[in-house]
Amino acid sequence: MAAVAQEGLSGSRRSSRRVKGDTVWRWVVLILAGVFFLLPLWSALRFAGISAFGSVIGFAGFASSLWLSVKLAIITTLITIALMLPTAVYVHLRLPKVRRLLEGITILPIVIPPVVLIVGVLAIAPGFLKSSDLLLALEYVVLAMPFAYRSLDAGLRALDLKTITEASNSLGAGWITTLWRVILPNLRTAMLSAVVLTVALVLGEYTMASLDLYQTFPVWIYVNAQTSGQVSVAASLLALFVTWLFLMLITMIGTRQSRKTGGGQITLFTVARQETRGN
């Protein structure tokens, strides 16, 4: 008995020492990480100065390049959703065997470097496409596919799709009505996640735009650096904060939504359903 009691005691002392060691260790790691990630932001802020932020807006090309980026983001998002949503729903409902294949295909754009893809695109694109804004948007849809598909896929997996479609059909709804009024409202969080990731991608994409000779916002920042370094750094910080706001927004809305429905935790990569343990 005594031995058991003693062992229990030493065991608990050991684990409490471990907990304390863990806490110190955790703070060291997190503080180091904090310095690494915040110091560049602070330096850039110091370098640009507050006044540079005001002059960004008036700089030549700011408005037109930002407008081009926003326009591309809107077109890309519309095409992405129009293409990926019906496909993802259809595959989930009718072709579950194709899901794995689809997952493999949609991850290809992450694996294939954009700089290689644009070489091929420029080699085969017909002339009328090369001279329009549409070509870039069409390729951005390909780049956005991994994120859009994974968001939608995770959202669909969390739904009992078969039951709700059958219920909807038995009430006399057609394909489009079901998609629009039953599935879509249930996928709100997943859609939001897909949209925000797509928008963030388009607003920040530089490689394809610059090689395709478009002056989108990131390209403008770079070109502009030649004339005014401070304004460029200020614009870079602005770009970061805008992305930050976007992503914060989706996390907040998503978390609130899932708290309401009990759906699960939302992360920026996927909308993962939490395991429900114990019930």
Partner: protein, 325 residues
């Protein structure tokens, strides 16, 4: 149990590995008569109707992804008049371009292993914080933001920090340690690795966290109850469980730094020969006449490198699976 909790990235990488024919969907959609001669006509029709729902997607992927890649692969073996030649591949695997491949590979290995380790540490620190903790929430959101940050703005951030006149450089100089006197420069390979860590570490945190969630606290308690030390726990329980996911994450980091273009270009202005930048300069028109298709051969080379990395991953994964049994 662990299998189920394992990272989605893993599954997709594995799916990619097992993907015998990436064009299967596209070609199935495009060539209706196909090889299914044994099937009766109504069955084939039914099969076709079922496949009809994925035709738009298949067509889009074929036109926007597969055809361009085929064009790159074919173009790599063509001369300017369209005839077959090996001279592009020959040029791409010699001299400055071979050097570029090596530099790219060294950079990507460094910029995947270092952020992989740091990212794992940070992820573990976040993971051990209590659920619903503010710190945890902030760290995860911040990871999402920084992982999506890159390119030109990132380069400028670091020039203002660690450039020769940057803030951190000045502080270090005041402390008597000017990194530029000790062989460091932001505009070299080492500098690029530091800058890449800015988006690679958060990416690692995001993709390894789900795997960490698979480590049950009960296992740790069980290990302690039988008298295991912390080291023993990691050596025999935690490590083996995490290892396959860790490999998968490293592969993703490798690909992400291999294909990064904007950051390196803005930072070094092409002073380091990296393959992605070399390909870009072909598109920008800085080409010697008669070598227009060398860019495509370089592109093909990058795809081959990634394919090899994936094969290594699959082999290691298999070895790890055997080791776990």
């Amino acid at each position: 149990m662990v299998q189920r909790d394992r990272l989605a990235v893993d599954q997709t990488v594995a799916a990619l590995g097992s993907l015998e024919d990436p064009g299967a969907l596209g070609s199935a959609a495009a060539s209706p008569s196909g090889p299914r001669a044994r099937l009766t006509v109504p069955a084939a029709l039914r099969w076709l109707r079922r496949m009809a729902g994925v035709v738009p997607f298949g067509a889009y992927v074929t036109l926007g992804l597969l055809l361009p890649m085929v064009a790159v692969a074919v173009g790599a073996f063509q001369n300017n008049s369209g005839g077959f030649t090996l001279s592009n591949v020959n040029t791409a695997t010699h001299g400055i371009y071979l050097h570029g491949f090596w530099q790219s590979i060294v950079l990507s290995v460094l910029a995947s292993i270092l952020p992989g380790i740091f990212g794992l540490l940070i992820a573990y620190a976040i993971f051990t914080a209590k659920r619903g903790n503010l710190l945890r929430q902030v760290a995860i959101t911040a990871s999402g933001v920084f992982a999506n940050f890159g390119g030109v703005p990132l380069a400028f951030l670091f020039i203002a920090t660690l450039g020769s006149g940057g803030l951190a450089t000045q502080w270090l100089t005041d402390l008597g340690f000017n990194p530029y006197n000790h062989g460091f420069s932001l505009y070299t390979l080492a500098g690029v690795v530091v800058v890449y860590m800015y988006f690679q570490i958060p990416l690692m945190v995001l993709i390894i966290l789900p795997a960490l969630e698979g480590l049950r606290p009960a296992w740790r308690e069980a290990a302690e109850n039988v008298g295991a030390s912390s080291f023993q726990y990691w050596r025999y329980v935690g490590g083996p469980v995490l290892f396959p996911s860790f490999l998968g994450c490293l592969l993703l980091l490798f690909g992400s730094s291999l294909s990064a273009y904007a950051t390196a270009e803005a930072l070094t202005n092409g002073t380091i020969p990296l393959t992605s930048i070399q390909i870009g300069s072909f598109l920008n028109g800085n080409v010697i006449a008669g070598q227009e298709n060398v860019g495509k051969a370089l592109g093909l080379g990058m795809v081959v490198i990634i394919a090899i990395a994936m094969l290594i991953y699959v082999a290691l994964q298999r070895r790890a699976a055997k080791w776990l049994q």
